[in-house]
């Protein structure tokens, strides 16, 4: 396959950009540990570093029901697109590496770590962030339950916990099994074990777990009651 013209430049740029950011997150050129007894030259560069302008791309997606079109550096994560470009700072950056869950948002009905995905990968996607669930004046039932059960302390993991909690109850309702689901044929239930397992990608260093579980249990119970009454919980 031959590359030519602009396509070549942008492809190469994208790869270089991606390689640079991968190098930084894995073993950065500058972050390597060096033997304590030696002079340490920096890693040699394989020739002059080409100066590449960022590769820009346009992405259109729906965020909390509103259509958005952004022109962005292709290296921009969905998390930074939300926080820096759309200024929806409810979604938090705790690690930028998929290790904490603070950045959890719901994309096309499923929760994901928005730091682990590039915004350009979500052309046409539909994103729900914590701001899309409720507002201080009109809390989503899960948000209200977090307040009632003190399911947070510093509040930094909280938007991620809430987005996860909402999605977890939907996953259970949809019959998606987890590691602790005893039977793959029976519908999973919103038990403590199920919820704790499914929420374990959302770290809370303040240690509000016991209270978050109580909030979720209340909402799950309410959900079940609503279903039995034929109502669809908001």
């Amino acid at each position: 396959m031959r590359n030519h013209g602009n396509a070549d430049v942008s492809r190469r740029g994208l790869l270089l950009g991606a390689a640079a950011s991968a190098a930084l997150t894995a073993t950065p050129r500058h972050g390597q540990a060096m033997p304590a007894d030696a002079d340490v030259p920096s890693a040699p560069h394989p020739g002059p570093v080409p100066i590449m302008n960022p590769v820009m791309n346009r992405v259109s997606l729906t965020v909390n029901g509103a259509a958005q079109t952004l022109e962005m550096d292709t290296r921009t994560t969905l998390l930074d697109a939300l926080r820096e470009h759309l200024r929806l700072t409810g979604t938090k950056k705790g690690c930028d590496h998929g290790q904490c869950g603070a950045c959890t948002v719901i994309v096309d009905g499923r929760r994901i770590n928005s730091c682990l995905t590039l915004a350009v990968m979500h052309e046409g996607g539909s994103v729900t962030t914590v701001e899309g669930l409720g507002t201080p004046a009109k809390l989503h039932p899960m948000q209200a339950a977090f307040v009632k059960h003190d399911g947070y302390q510093c509040g930094y993991c909280t938007p991620g916990q809430i987005c996860s909690a909402v999605a977890v109850l939907d996953e259970i309702k949809a019959g998606i099994p987890s590691h602790v689901t005893a039977s793959l044929t029976d519908a999973p239930q919103a038990t403590n074990a199920e919820m704790r397992e499914r929420m374990s990608g959302n770290v809370c260093r303040c240690g509000a777990y016991s209270n978050i579980l109580e909030a979720m249990t209340e909402v799950a119970g309410q959900k079940m009651a609503d279903q039995q009454n034929g109502r669809d919980p908001a």
């Binding site: 540990a33 921009t76 959302n202 809370c204 260093r205």
Partner: protein, 731 residues
């Protein structure tokens, strides 16, 4: 307001608002993502550029050459800051190592450069283009190896009472055991972050800092600019645990970057930088010796601890609680500090007591077993109602025995089989453990300003911070109670150096002192209100938004009809903390199950019974305790910064490598607060509670593992590899 005699009856005792389990007033903001944290302040200043910090690749030595040429011309780059162009920098009182390294390097990932660019992606990319040549030097990174060269730290002399050696040698029952606790990371969820903006020679930092006034002073000393030119703003802080007590490199580098770039700059530490760039809880080696009579009375108690820090640093005060917790006529505590070239050691939630009790309370469990006594009985027998180093100096309140008794009852301690490894449920070995919890109550001055407006709204301003502790809510409760208004008539504004200087958040001193300061300001405001309304007679009564005196009742708001009334005051303390030992107490109870085949350890139940003075808001106080219990469970079972002893850094410097408890690790937690008011601590009659929950809980976990398996692990964390080889035969 000077507090130098025990509190008499006062408006707080009404307990109409204070003492009630109250939803946090900042809850709707936090749960909707509308509470603004430092890095997110798009609203405060326009044209923010992004900074990215480069950390040192060596632990000790010098930068011999630094080539920033490629970074400077990289797309979007506005400026590169290094020690070479940063100007002369001082060092803050609270920092041990410089926040910007070069040419000298003091620890791994010490900041050596900041790249400022139009976007985060550009700044990060350009930081990777900086070439740094280092001249590494040999350093000391291994506490065990440095132990013999450790010395007495400045201001931390040994404490001795009676004749420890003689009494220990003569004791018919003896324990001599050594325990180790590893380096641990705060790992708060919000990375250290700052937006810096200069306006002429005035600097504003929107940052994440627990101690606003310390921060102003340290920024002033570091940048060599007057304090009055510096403003720190931290209304919301995504966890601190001691890791945000001090100004860190995000704040300094943002300020330097903004100066060079000529526009506002925002900087967050990346997660992998946090563990080596900032502070951590230092590892300890602790030797504990206990001598007792056959009846179980302690006659000799000795606790020695070794820890390390950078030159000029401080020891981890792991022996602190042993000076106070149990009776015994002959006593010895000693700390030795080794010089290590690891990142800076410093305070993490309950510094001293957290690792100290992880050792002491296992030693107590071991000693009880040697004596053939129940571990609760052993502790109760050695309870003391006075400072054991200073007979005649009483505790203001000490309900440790009651905590242990109630805890035993609620937890079903009587069902525990004292013989280890005797309870099996299927493949699980089940055990119970307990420990005493202990943490001092520290009193320190704290100021606030209160304003009453014509709508009857009371606004409190103080530079106090809420780091998840519930400060907003307890301050609102305090003002509502004192001014006789409902909670929704109070607004609380925190974390701004333009506000009166508070105690700040640390050492579990925040709640008691900051609310006492607010109480003082409110009492002053009440006087202004009374004067304004012409109530000269006896102390008027403030209730239900009204003021009454001598059969005459008027709305509170009327006092401000001609303009706002403002009062400012602070609480300051006499010597009640010298006359009385003020401490908080807990009984921790834990049940574990250990997989008899794999050694996997699971927590099943956790209970803490706490005696900590008046509990201002049982809902948020309980959260403080369960959160600390969770962190203590992490310390017991998984948390360890792994040291690369050749290269001198913490290897597992992210949240995948440094494991902290997750949902699946933590069972339902129960917390009980004993009914207690402590009129000696402050007008609030409250004490701290934010750290009590972590104090002792780790030992309770380790003791439960021992009871379940018969395997005594003295080197934390208690991971399955340490128990696996010693598990009882499977039947």
């Amino acid at each position: 307001m000077k507090f130098d005699t025990p509190a008499a009856a006062n408006p707080i005792d009404q307990l109409k608002v204070v003492g009630k389990a109250t939803d946090r007033i900042d809850g709707p903001l936090k749960t909707t993502g509308t509470a603004p944290y430092a890095y997110e302040r798009h609203d405060v200043v326009a044209n923010q550029a992004h900074g990215f910090i480069l950390g040192s690749a060596i632990a000790k030595g010098r930068i011999s050459r630094m080539d920033i040429a490629a970074a400077k011309v990289a797309p979007g780059v506005i400026a590169v800051v290094t020690a070479e162009n940063a100007g002369t920098l001082g060092k803050g009182k609270w920092n041990t190592a410089a926040l910007l390294g070069g040419p000298e390097i003091q620890h791994y990932h010490q900041a050596v450069a900041l790249v400022v660019a139009e976007t985060f992606e550009q700044a990060r990319d350009a930081a990777g283009l900086i070439k740094v040549d280092y001249q590494a030097e040999a350093g000391a990174y291994d506490l065990a190896a440095a132990r013999n060269g450790a010395t007495v730290a400045k201001g931390e002399p040994d404490s001795t009472v009676g004749d420890f050696n003689g009494a220990y040698t003569a004791a018919p029952v003896q324990l001599d055991a050594t325990y180790t606790t590893p380096d641990q990371g705060h790992a708060m969820m919000e990375p250290h972050a700052t937006i810096a903006a200069w306006n002429g020679d005035k600097l504003t930092l929107w940052t994440a800092n627990q101690m606003i006034n310390w921060g102003v002073k340290d920024v002033s000393q570091t940048l060599n600019i007057p304090e009055e030119n510096i403003r720190l703003i931290s209304p919301y802080i995504g966890g601190g645990f001691g890791g945000k007590l001090f100004v860190r490199s995000d704040a300094l580098m943002a300020a330097l970057g903004a100066k060079v770039a000529g526009r506002p700059v925002k900087v967050a530490l990346t997660r992998p930088l946090m563990f080596n760039n900032t502070t951590h809880r230092p590892a300890t080696i602790q030797r504990i010796r206990i001598g007792a009579t056959r009846e179980g009375r302690i006659t000799a108690i000795g606790h020695e601890s070794w820890s390390g820090d950078l030159p000029g640093g401080k020891p981890e005060t792991a022996v602190q609680q042993t000076r106070l917790l149990y009776a015994g006529a002959n006593r010895l505590t000693a700390m030795r500090l080794a010089v290590l070239d690891l990142p800076e050691g410093n305070a993490m939630r309950a510094p001293g007591e957290a690792p100290g009790l992880m050792a002491l309370e296992v030693a107590m469990d071991e000693m009880a077993e040697k004596l053939g006594m129940d571990p609760i009985q052993f502790r109760i027998l050695n309870d003391t109602q006075e400072d054991p180093e200073k007979p005649g100096r009483p505790y203001s309140q000490r309900q440790l025995t009651e905590c242990l008794r109630q805890g035993a009852e609620r937890f079903g301690w009587a069902k525990r089989d004292p013989k280890p490894a005797s309870v099996r449920e299927g493949r699980w070995l089940v055990g119970m453990g307990m420990a005493a919890g202990f943490r001092n109550n520290l009193v320190t001055k704290s100021a606030a300003r209160v304003r009453l407006d014509g709508q009857g709204m009371v606004t409190v301003e103080t530079d106090m911070t809420d780091i998840g502790t519930g400060t907003y809510t307890i301050i609102a409760q305090t003002a509502a109670e004192t001014m006789g208004v409902p909670l929704d008539k109070v607004a609380v504004r925190l974390g701004d150096s333009n506000f009166p200087v508070s105690c700040g958040s640390g050492g579990q001193w925040g709640a008691n002192n900051s609310t006492a300061g607010v109480y003082a300001a409110c009492m002053k405001l009440r006087q202004s209100v009374a004067r304004k309304l012409g109530f000269n007679a006896a102390e008027p009564h403030f209730a239900d938004g009204h003021v009454s005196s001598g059969g005459h009742t008027v709305p509170l708001a009327q006092a401000a009809k001609d303009g706002d009334l403002v009062a400012e005051d602070q609480i300051e303390y006499g010597d009640l903390d010298k006359k009385y030992q003020q401490s908080t107490f807990a009984g921790h109870f834990v049940e574990v199950a250990v997989d008899s085949a794999t050694g996997e350890i699971r927590l099943r139940r956790m209970l803490a019974v706490c005696a900590a003075g008046r509990i201002l808001n049982p809902k948020s106080a309980r959260s403080q305790v369960i959160g600390a219990m969770t962190m203590g469970a992490g310390a017991a079972l998984m948390e360890e910064l792994a040291v690369d002893k050749r290269r001198g850094f913490f290897v597992n410097h992210d949240l995948a490598g440094y494991e902290v408890p997750v949902h699946a690790d933590i069972p339902h937690q129960e917390v009980v607060f004993l009914d207690e008011v402590d009129p000696i601590s402050s007008p609030m009659k409250a004490k701290g509670v934010g750290e009590l929950g972590i104090c002792g809980v780790g030992a309770a976990v380790a003791n439960a593992v021992y009871n379940a398996t018969g395997v005594r692990v003295r080197d934390y964390p208690v991971t399955l590899d340490k128990v696996l080889d010693h598990l009882p035969e499977m039947t």
